[in-house]
Symmetry: C2
Subunit: 458 residues, 2 copies
C-alpha cells in the first residue's frame, strides 16, 4: 500500500462518521423551507475542503442555493482536473414509507440508509478524502485539482449556467470528473457516453371559480379532473409513444452498430425491475427496456392532484386540478423547445370551458453525448480496469446531470462519469441507501485517477 492508501485505511472509521454527519443535514433543494439546510451543507463542505488542505476554499453565491469551490494548483506541467458533485438532496415524501427517519442514517448489512446517502453525499465525499490522503501524507497532489460542488442539482441547477459563465477562469480545467453517478455493478465498471437531458412543466387547470356540489352541478360542466386526465391520457398513444407534435423531430437515432452493442450488454431486465417491484415492462414500441431507459426521450407525470384526498367520501366537483410533468430528453432535443411543444399540445387538447395554464418549471438540462475515445474516458477506463480487474462496459445513462450540458456549453469540457453508486439504491425514493464498500471504493478510485492523470500532459 502506498502512503495515501494507508492514510485512507487508518481513517476509515472517522471518514464514515463524517459522512453520517454530512447526511444528517436535510439539504432538500426543492423545498424553500430547507434553503438554510442547503446552506448548512455548503458550509459543511467548505469546512471539509479546508480540513483536507485545499486552498482558496469559498462558498459562491449564485442567487439561489450556493456552490462550494476549492483548489490546489501547485503541480506545474500537470493536467488540471475538476471534480463535480452536489450536496443537495431530493425531498423525502412519502415519508411514511421510510423504514427509518430519512435524515437519521443507520447502517444495516453494510448499507447506509438515508436520504442523500447515495445521491450524492456518499458519492462526492470520497473525492475530498482522497485529496486529503495525498496532502496529509506527502503535502502535495499528483495533479492540479479543483473541486466544484453545487446545491441545486436536484432542482435542475437553475442558477448554475450564469455562475459558470461568470467564473470561467476559476473553473478552467482539462477534465471534469463527475462524482455523481454510478457503475454497472459491484464487480463491473462502466464508461458513460450519453446522458439524457431534462425539462419540466406544470399544468394548472380550472373549470369553475369555486368547488361545487356534485348533486347541484354534477353532469353540467366539465370536471377539471376529467379534463386533466383527458389531456394527460392523450399525451401518449397505446404503445407508449409520446403524442406531442414535433416531440421526436430532433432525436438523433442511434446507429445500428450502437444499438447492437447495447443488445450485447448483459442487461438483466428482471433484476432491473425487481429493484422497484415492477412486474411488467411497458414503453415506446420498437425498443428494448434498456434502450428505452438510455436512448429514448420520455414524458412522465411526476405528480397529479385535485379535489378531495381525505378518508371517505366528499361529493365535491373541485374547481381545479394540477399535474407536474418532466421529460427526459436525448440529443439533439432542446429542453426549451420541447417544453413549448408540450405546452402547445396541452393547450390544443384543452376542452371548451377549461382554463388551462401550462408553464415551464425550472431545471432544464440539455441531453449530453460524448465520444468513447475522449481522453477523459481513456483515463477513467484505465483506472476502472485496474480497480475492478475488468474492462468497463460502454453504457448510456437515463439520468441527467444538468451540469454536464452546462459545462459542455460554457467550458467546452464534457463531464466524465466517475462515481460509484449502483442502480438498486432507491435513489429519489424511500429507503435510499449507499454501500459502505462503495464509499471506500470511491476513495481508492479518486486517488488512483489523480495519479493516472499525473502521467498525462497538462
Amino acid at each position: 500500500m502506498t502512503a495515501w492508501q494507508n492514510y485512507l485505511a487508518e481513517n476509515k472509521e472517522r471518514f464514515l462518521a463524517e459522512l453520517m454527519d454530512f447526511i444528517k443535514i436535510p439539504s432538500i433543494s426543492s423545498l424553500p423551507d430547507h434553503a438554510p439546510d442547503v446552506r448548512r451543507a455548503a458550509e459543511w463542505v467548505k469546512a471539509r475542503l479546508e480540513a483536507a488542505g485545499m486552498e482558496e476554499v469559498s462558498i459562491g453565491e449564485t442567487g439561489g442555493h450556493p456552490v462550494v469551490y476549492g483548489q490546489w494548483l501547485h503541480a506545474p506541467d500537470r493536467p488540471t482536473v475538476m471534480v463535480y458533485g452536489h450536496f443537495d438532496v431530493q425531498p423525502v415524501d412519502p415519508v411514511e414509507l421510510w423504514t427509518s427517519p430519512p435524515f437519521e442514517p443507520v447502517i444495516k448489512d453494510g448499507k447506509i440508509y438515508a436520504r442523500g446517502a447515495a445521491d450524492d453525499k456518499g458519492n462526492m465525499l470520497p473525492s475530498i478524502l482522497a485529496a486529503e490522503a495525498f496532502l496529509k501524507t506527502s503535502g502535495e497532489l499528483p495533479v492540479n485539482l479543483k473541486f466544484f460542488f453545487e446545491g441545486q442539482e436536484e432542482i435542475g441547477s437553475p442558477d448554475l449556467p450564469d455562475y459558470i459563465v461568470a467564473h470561467k477562469d476559476m473553473l478552467a480545467c482539462d477534465f471534469v470528473l463527475s462524482a455523481d453517478g454510478s457503475q454497472w455493478g459491484e464487480d463491473q465498471p462502466a464508461l458513460v457516453v450519453s446522458r439524457r437531458g431534462l425539462c419540466g412543466l406544470q399544468i394548472d387547470l380550472s373549470t369553475a371559480a369555486s368547488d361545487s356540489h356534485s348533486g347541484s352541478y354534477g353532469g353540467t360542466f366539465i370536471n377539471p379532473i376529467q379534463a386533466l386526465t383527458n389531456i394527460i391520457s392523450a399525451l401518449h398513444d397505446d404503445e407508449g409513444r409520446i403524442q406531442v407534435d414535433g416531440f421526436y423531430d430532433d432525436v438523433v437515432d442511434l446507429t445500428e452498430d450502437q444499438r447492437r452493442r447495447i443488445t450485447e450488454l448483459p442487461f438483466d431486465q428482471e433484476d432491473y425491475f425487481s429493484q422497484i417491484g415492477v412486474k411488467e415492462a411497458f414503453g415506446e414500441a420498437g425498443y428494448s427496456t434498456c434502450e428505452r431507459a438510455w436512448t429514448r426521450p420520455t414524458l412522465e407525470i411526476n405528480g397529479i392532484w385535485g379535489g378531495f384526498q381525505g378518508e371517505g367520501v366528499k361529493t365535491v366537483i373541485p374547481a381545479e386540478a394540477h399535474a407536474k410533468i418532466t421529460c427526459r430528453l436525448v440529443a439533439d432535443q432542446d429542453p426549451a423547445d420541447i417544453v413549448q411543444k408540450i405546452i402547445k399540445q396541452v393547450q390544443r387538447l384543452a376542452p371548451p370551458g377549461a382554463d388551462v395554464k401550462a408553464y415551464p418549471l425550472k431545471g432544464a438540462a440539455v441531453p449530453f453525448n460524448m465520444a468513447e475515445e475522449h481522453p477523459g474516458n481513456l483515463a477513467a477506463g484505465k483506472v476502472l480496469t485496474a480497480l475492478y480487474g475488468k474492462e468497463p462496459y460502454v453504457v448510456r445513462m437515463g439520468g441527467t446531470v444538468p451540469v454536464s450540458g452546462i459545462l459542455l456549453e460554457n467550458l467546452g469540457k464534457p463531464l466524465i462519469n466517475f462515481a460509484f453508486g449502483l442502480n438498486d439504491e432507491h435513489v429519489h425514493a424511500p429507503d435510499e441507501f449507499f454501500r459502505v464498500s462503495s464509499f471506500d471504493r470511491g476513495q481508492q478510485a479518486y486517488g488512483m485517477i489523480f495519479e493516472e492523470l499525473a502521467t498525462r500532459q497538462g
Copy 2:
C-alpha cells in the same frame, strides 16, 4: 300575528345567536378526528329539543355517528309528522380559499358565512324553533310531531338503514318533511318530485413497489398516474356519455310531457353557472343543462392524487396513484349494482402491469321519485303558496338525501322537501353561506305546515 308568530318575532335575536353557536361546532362527519365534534353537535341538538319542550328526547347510537330523536304526541286524531335534518357538515378543504374561518360564522349583508350555515344547520334549526313557539305560547302543538336528526348525512348515512329498521315503531308517521333542501328562489317556491341517488368508489392503482427515479426508470414501465388517467379518461366519451357497460340499463327515461314541463320552467343557465364561475356548459349529449342536473346520472371524479405535489420539480415516478369517484343516480338505478359495474369496467381498462384495487365507498343512496299528487306534496304546496303568494314549481333535484330512499324502503313514507336553502349558497365549497331571511322564513313555514297538517285526518 298569531301567538306563535309573535313568539318567533320576539326571540329572533336569540335564535340567530343560537344558530351561530350551533354552527361553531366543527361536526365534519367524513373526518374521523372530528367524530367528537359530531357528537357535540348531537348533544347541542338534544339540549335544544329539550329546551323547546319536546319529550322523550334522546341521542341514538347507530354504531357510527349518532342520531337525535324527540317527540310530542298529544294530539289525538291529528296526523303525525316527522321532521328530518342533519347536524353534520362537509369538510372545509381547501380551507385557504375561505374568506373567513369556516367555523367562525360572520354575518355580512344579511348572509351568515360558515360551513354548515346552509347545509344543514340553518335549515334544520327553524323546525325546532317553530315547535318551541307553539309549545311556549299555547302549551301544545297542532299536530303530533317527531324530530329525527342525523349526524352522517354528508357521508351517505351508512348506519342509518339498520337504525331505522330497528326503530320502525318509534319513527312511524304519516308524513316526513325534510329540513334539508332548497327552494327555487327567494320569491319562488318549489315542490320536489325526484332526487338523484348516490354511490361511490375509490381506485388505488400501483405499478411498482416503490417510487423510482425518472432518470433510471423513465419510459420502461407504465407510470401509475398515466395508467389512472387513461382509465378515468375512458369512463366518458367525448360527448359526456358515461362509458361503463350497462350503466344506463335501468334508467327510466322521462316522458316527453315531463321533459316539456322542465323546459317550460324559467331555468336561468347563466345565473346557475355564475354561482360557481363556470363559463361553458358540458354534459351528456342530447340533454339540456337542467335535465343533466336533475334527471341524468353522472360519474364525477371528486379527487385524484399521486406523486409529488410540492413546489418545484421532483423527478420521481410514483409507485401509486389514487382517485375517488361518486355517481349521482336516477331511478331505477341500483347503487350497489352501479358500483360493481364501474369496478368491472375499471378492471377491464387496467393496463398490464398495473395492480388496480377498486372498491365501494360508504354512503350509497337509492334514487328517489314521488308523485306530484302525494298528500304531503299537496299540504306543502298549500303552505308554500300562502307563504310566497305563488304556486310552487314542480322540480327535480340533482342532490341526494340518502335518508329519502331509506325511509321509503323501510317506513314506506316518501320524504317531502320542506327546506329553504337557495342554490347560490356555496354548499360543500368555500364561503358557504345562508340568508338570515331564509332562517326566518323556515320558522314561519314550519309553523304554518304544522297548522295545515292539523286540518287533515291523522
